[in-house]
Symmetry: C2
Subunit: 216 residues, 2 copies
DNA sequence: AATGGAAACGGACAATTGTCCGCAACCATC
DNA sequence: GATGGTTGCGGACAATTGTCCGTTTCCATT
């Protein structure tokens, strides 16, 4: 299935080990192959949602500890499954940026990237959703049905509608814009910028307003 | 702790039951009170992260089934705990919109709402984060460290930087804008619009570009 | 107040996750 | 090819989640 002397492994050595050039590494590769094959198989049979780490370990015939040492959770397994696909996509994106005529406006390139990304997401929707969910959520869309979200939505929607009516802005997709604003100022987003990137309230606020107020 | 004859319960009857005017309802109220009190206590003692549904049921002295029938997960418990606070906030938001001079530009009001929301999130950061996490994520910031995200980030950042340099846009907060764009076109966001709201690729794409390309 | 059916309780259980550690395989050195 | 230290395996385990169902409580009717 793969030349043993392949010096360049397809898989990007998630983190540790991978010592010299043989035996231990062979087993490692074999295990990883088996895990991914099993995962792929299970996903195909049972559907993306119903696969568990336990199942994969069982069917792949490896201990759970072994599985967990390689992949912290299902999302990482899926990530690895998509590795090639994602890499290819990212590379083609990178190339399309690099190769572009330097005189092409950057914003034009931006919209190309957005377009390509959405195409990609659209095609690989199911798996990507699982990956993203594993890293990011548990019960996908539920948040949108929650009172807080709904109320905020109902508050913002008419506001934007009025802004359009009165000619302050135009050509916007109101629901989409509202939803985008809501994820943009979600607690996670704010806390990431505040606690990890060191933003203060003012800077965050201004950046958001630049996009959603001044921009529109 | 609360007058038994309070006809207007603070808690908004999450969903079912609540029949006529007594007994069954009393117990219901009492249980809910006990659950929330316990949850509040546990959170204060152990910190938001380490509280489990099991613990709450145990300490509140109710069966797990009972707890789960009222609250599907921790996020809902926290939501209910925040209910009053959130309601107050939402109401004040609503009022500030309603009371505003009708001649106030809608976009001006929008920026006010954004500002107030960020203040609110900043104050209640910890609990809100938990609530949001429960509905939405598992391991908070991890996604930002993942290769796919990083690569996309590294691709977009220089692009926007160039757009600024070349005078296509200005006054934007580049990292924040990149991150906002990335959550805006995340698989979840796309799938919600596509599968729940019935958007097609084109409409989604155009809405996003209106915000992040034409807008900027 | 006895009775019957509906609604809700509680806790046992099955399913998962994630961790821990005794044991075995492996590589380097002699 | 024996020896010893290191690395990694496997699967038992503790902790949780979420569900299911026999039992209890409650209300309405008689």
């Amino acid at each position: 299935m793969k030349q043993p002397n392949d010096e360049q492994d397809t898989l990007p050595d998630t983190k540790e080990s991978a010592a010299p050039g043989s035996r231990r590494e062979e087993r490692d590769t074999e295990y990883r192959r088996r895990i991914l094959a099993t995962a792929s198989d299970l996903i195909e049979r049972r559907g993306t949602e119903c696969v568990t780490m336990y199942q994969i370990a069982q069917e792949a015939g490896v201990g759970q500890g072994t599985l967990y040492r390689r992949y912290a959770h299902l999302g990482e397994v899926c990530s690895d499954l998509m590795q090639t696909t994602v890499d290819t996509f990212l590379q083609s994106l990178g190339e399309s940026v690099a190769e572009a005529d330097p005189s092409t406006p950057a914003m034009r390139q931006l919209s190309d990237i957005i377009s390509l990304s959405i195409d990609f997401i659209d095609q690989k929707a199911s798996l990507l959703h699982t990956i993203h969910s594993m890293y990011v959520e548990k019960k996908s869309h539920t948040i949108y049905q929650k009172p807080f979200f709904r109320t905020m939505h109902d508050l913002l929607q008419p506001l934007l509608a009025r802004a359009v009516e009165q000619g302050e802005i135009r050509d916007i997709d109101i629901p989409l814009t509202v939803n985008t604003l809501l994820v943009a100022v979600s607690p996670n987003q704010y806390l990431y910028h505040r606690d990890v990137l060191g933003y203060d309230k003012k800077r965050f606020m201004e950046g958001i307003c630049r996009i959603f107020v001044k921009g529109l």
